[in-house]
Symmetry: C2
């Protein structure tokens, strides 16, 4: 059982900083970012609603720490429909993006030294938040059906007693996987049996291509804190995320939030409430985002398959914003990145998503490619450049 | 030297929660809040600029963790003018309200058990942030010229070695005091001599009535982290605060902010940049806020003087949003609050701003009255109700 102290913060500090500086250069086609497509942000509609909401001066005042009542009601109704059980307003806290929910949850749930299960590869924002709270991260590998619960069960049988398990259950960042329905039920059972919390981080669940994902893990247990966000479906600059789950945990998060930043923006929270409550508009908008992202994913995957064939295994892309691949020819993606940048294309190497040194070696040939912000033709050009770089590396 | 473990968090938890529930009742004239006046929020102008800024889709994307470059440039130029020395963009971090700056600074600067000097009475948001970081709070009493630096010097001479000193240097919340110019210089000297950081919390400095306050403490030393915010001059719902100071501390705050919430809202930060950079408009707007707040303060103070005479000592109100008073007749303001609410008026009793038990006893006859959100006639009516309550308590 590999219990590894987290070195993610350092990895991220350097790797992502360097990558962001690359992204800024105009000659680079960047598939490295984690950003949604700007042309799919419905900014005209949001601006219209902003003007309507902002006409009432009360929208500009300080708000309640747990979030604007109207938004919490809309979110509670959505969770009720999705989980198939009544969800109360006091089971919802609105946060400054779902990263704040991760950070506050880590502080509420974790004491220094507590083991926290994450996926390998891991979403660095989660690893950073749990590491900042002093957690000892333990990685459980993904396959195409998400976190390998059989391996988790082995760890638990060997005596590991985690305090929290973090999963990006749907359209994993970076791994693309969707946690299969039986594993969702199994995770919920294990959480209840071994008395740990599950943080189900779900910013991409609405971005499915052909068919919706299975019911959330939260549908199977009340030991789940479910996180989501308006950043990937409406706009990041609204800075509206939220968590749903246990009342006592929500109360703890609310108390910490009061000291962290007092409250979020009543204005942007009320805007989100209106847009999410307008089901007809929101569904039509999501439909467009899904179609466009699916077309981009298809273009990228087809171009990569045509150029690399069996040399690059790709996780099937069923939704979200990322393609995840692994070279079968021993390519070191840290090294490939340097050549790739010379050829005008960027991605994130697998090592940036490692839970520790050993894990970094496992992920040495992997890479994450974001298709969200590029049009299909650009993605084909990016695949061409990557193939050239690969041939020369 | 009274070294007191902080019980502020508990006090706040109950006192402020109860007060907020009172404030919500329409028959209560609440002078308890810490909110700015909604009718002075320039929401039409902000909405116009929001629409202009929001027309560029890039305003809706994730932004840099340290804040939008344009806003940091505007803030650096303002600080340069105010401090009389060149301030670089890398000495500015934009935060989610200045409460986030307090919280992140506390985490960067304080290790558990470190002594942190605060004022007595203390701003509870600061006490909460430092307590959450594990600080041991030590209160230094205020007088009309702000923190009594002579008492601080005694503590230092006795061997106290604080890590940080927090001061609301101008128009103190709750105490109303303005730190006198010689004390500002003295504080800066002491910080350099005894090697501690000063957190100069300055959300109200622009809200002066008859004459501007002395130069900031930050004008006298680079050991000062200066905090301010758009919440009291533009609108709380923008959620834009900032800190200025030492580059290495700013870098530490930026790193923590990445894990805390990734970034703020590019949209509202760019709106602030435009409004603050439009000096002619912003000065005229501030002029109106100053005149209206001054008229409210005058009305409240005159009404209280007429009704209470010598029984209620009042700190002269020179700016900001709060009047601070102390009964000379032994009135217990915790008890008075209960009677006051029955008479339809609310305030915050001094005990809510105590650093510890002993301090709470000192502040037993004190109270904070906010004049910001009521028109002069309403403040006169509030004083009438308070006088009735006082007569019956």
């Amino acid at each position: 059982m590999p219990t590894l102290s987290c070195r993610i913060a350092d990895l991220r500090g350097s790797a992502i900083r360097d990558l962001l500086s690359l992204t800024a250069r105009p000659e680079i086609l960047s598939l490295a970012g984690g950003l949604p497509a700007l042309e799919l942000v419905p900014h005209e509609r949001i601006s219209t609603v902003l003007a309507e909401v902002g006409a009432d001066p009360r929208a500009w005042q300080y708000g309640e720490t747990a979030g604007a009542g109207l938004l919490r009601e809309v979110l509670a109704a959505r969770e009720t429909a999705r989980l198939g059980r009544a969800v109360g307003v006091d089971e919802i806290v609105v946060t400054h993006g779902s990263q704040q929910a991760l950070s506050l949850l880590a502080q509420v749930l974790v004491d220094p030294g507590d083991p926290v299960i994450v996926e390998s590869p891991v979403y660095p924002g989660a690893a950073g938040a749990f590491a900042a709270a002093g957690a000892t991260l333990v990685g459980v590998p993904l396959d195409g059906d998400g976190m390998q619960t059989e391996i988790l069960e082995e760890y638990l049988a060997e005596g590991l007693r985690p305090r929290v398990l973090h999963t990006v259950s749907t359209f994993h960042n970076p791994g693309g996987a969707v946690l299969a329905a039986p594993r969702r039920r199994r995770l919920a059972e294990l959480a209840e049996r071994y008395d740990f919390w599950i943080v189900e981080d779900d910013p991409y669940g609405d971005l499915w291509f052909d068919s919706p994902p299975p019911d959330p893990v939260a549908a199977h247990s009340t030991r789940v804190l479910r996180l989501s966000s308006a950043s990937k479906t409406l706009a990041p600059a609204l800075r509206v995320g939220w968590l749903h789950g246990d009342r006592a945990v929500c109360a703890g998060v609310e108390r910490l939030k009061q000291s962290a930043d007092l409250c979020g923006s009543t204005l942007t929270q009320l805007v989100c409430a209106r847009l999410l409550a307008d089901g007809r508009w929101f569904d039509a908008h999501l439909g467009r985002v899904r179609r466009d992202y699916a077309a981009r994913a298809d273009a990228l995957v087809a171009a990569l398959r045509a150029r690399f064939g069996d040399a690059l295994w790709l996780e099937p892309v069923r939704g979200g914003m990322f393609a995840w691949g692994r070279f079968g020819d021993g390519t070191d993606t840290d090294r490939l990145l340097r050549t790739a940048v010379e050829h005008g294309v960027a991605f994130v190497p697998g090592s940036a998503f490692a839970v520790g040194e050993e894990d970094a070696a496992q992920l040495r040939s992997s890479l994450r490619l974001s298709f969200a912000t590029c049009l299909p033709d650009t993605l084909v050009e990016a695949a061409d450049r990557l193939a050239l770089a690969h041939a020369q590396s």
